[in-house]
Homo-oligomer: 317 residues x 2
Amino acid sequence: MLAGRVIGVDAGGTKLLAGVVDESLTVEHRAHRLWRGRDRRQVLDLMVEVVEEARARAPDARAVGFGIPAQMDRRRGVSLGAVHLPLDELPFRDLMSERLGLPVEVDNDANVAALAEQRHGAARGASDVVMLTLGTGIGGGLILDGQLYRGSMGAGAELGHMVVDLDGPLCGPGCPNRGCLEAVASGTAIGREGAEAARLAPESPLGRAAAEGRAVTGAMVTELAHDGDPAALDVLALVGCRLGAGLSALVNIFNPQVVVVGGGVMAAGELLLGPAREEMERRALPALRNSVRVVAAHFGAESGMIGAAVLALEARA
Amino acid sequence: MLAGRVIGVDAGGTKLLAGVVDESLTVEHRAHRLWRGRDRRQVLDLMVEVVEEARARAPDARAVGFGIPAQMDRRRGVSLGAVHLPLDELPFRDLMSERLGLPVEVDNDANVAALAEQRHGAARGASDVVMLTLGTGIGGGLILDGQLYRGSMGAGAELGHMVVDLDGPLCGPGCPNRGCLEAVASGTAIGREGAEAARLAPESPLGRAAAEGRAVTGAMVTELAHDGDPAALDVLALVGCRLGAGLSALVNIFNPQVVVVGGGVMAAGELLLGPAREEMERRALPALRNSVRVVAAHFGAESGMIGAAVLALEARA
């Protein structure tokens, strides 16, 4: 890997995280932003802003790595399409390199998270790894035979858009499908199920919070579940079961040694991952389920940012 | 590849097909069997019998390749588990090589079908290929970056056991899951839906055949659909839609250039594949659906047998 420091940027559906990362993966000078507007100019300006903030503290940074929630043509550094941000048909790498005056590497956000976890995190040493990042949406990354798998154009591993419920809810903008894993097991889905649970249990802490007019989000459900609210715990168990059905499919398809689950939603920890693991074990083929570990991301919500930095460090090795 | 001839054997959930195959993939001396009994001894004896029949006509055959419907530990040639045949924890390669007195190669039946189609068939020249074999069950094979993908133990690509309907019907013996692609879109599922359609439309040709006491099978539904029976056509369109939902997941996950659909059920041809392709196009991510072809297997119901031969030919190249 490159000696010296780089800047890693993880652009999620809701927020942006940058950090200065050295070759031992020590992170300094973190910078956060929430998206202010969603047109393309605002999105790209905020990306430049967050990089410049980090760079002001680390003028020696030699390159920038981005993880973006898009289907990528990796060879050309072009974003082909994105569900949560206006990044369709955008020559991202060249455009950012021009604006920043630094070498830029870019890949799908969940791909780089998988890279971080397999090289240095929870799946260290494993040759076959499935990574899911649970946030506003669900991203997927695959390490197969030790290599990041990107599909024929580099646009593969959209594991969040695997159908698990044929007639389930419509998926997000940018995805025409219904019953995708993302539609039933993302942070957004936890918020939706939480609102329904609040309606059905108005005396629960969740019900009372909703009655006070607070928006029921995945984060709120998770917080109340950690405080012991049975209604909130039931929501995480329900969504965890659906996640587990998706995990059983991934285990049967990929026969991985490790499945790593990360992203902001993993603030729920074992309250979500426990039911998911149990459901996977009920559903997956016996010969496969016994050889896989399902674990939380080592780098937590920073897998994507650190993975984006690893991408930049490895590209210049 | 090896000069000279080998014997390829495809062991399906219902029947067994062997053939003598040369390096130009010309097939001679085909031999068929239906399983007579399902205990392990009967199954293995029939495999030996069909090979010996082919070998009697081609005493120069130098090796035998098997495709079997099992999760394999490919390195050791051991069958770890199987849904439709009693092949759990069986050192298949060594045992067969001992009994036949010939070098034996063995892999999952759908893996070898994928190999045949990508090397010499409908997906020739493509680097990323998904293969589904529709029969009694559904098998899956993956060519990723030009290589057969087998997972960490060699047991991957069980694409038929991907959940597409969370609360759907229970899957087969050997699979504890419900709502697997196999449970809703295999030949078995076509038979089940056909029986239901016969009940609802007793005056249709399908309904009359059932009333005569004939068992409603996938093959019967397909035959009547080709004759124009609207009830049978509706069954294939329904099952085709479910297949298409599964295809959308596979396209989103793998970003393949080609999806090849083979197996005995493809006797239905475009009556099944047409609705499946349309549903895939409605559901898959726009950036991915436009770069994939969904096609019938070039080698038809012989992809598995020819692929098993290719495995043996390539292993001794």
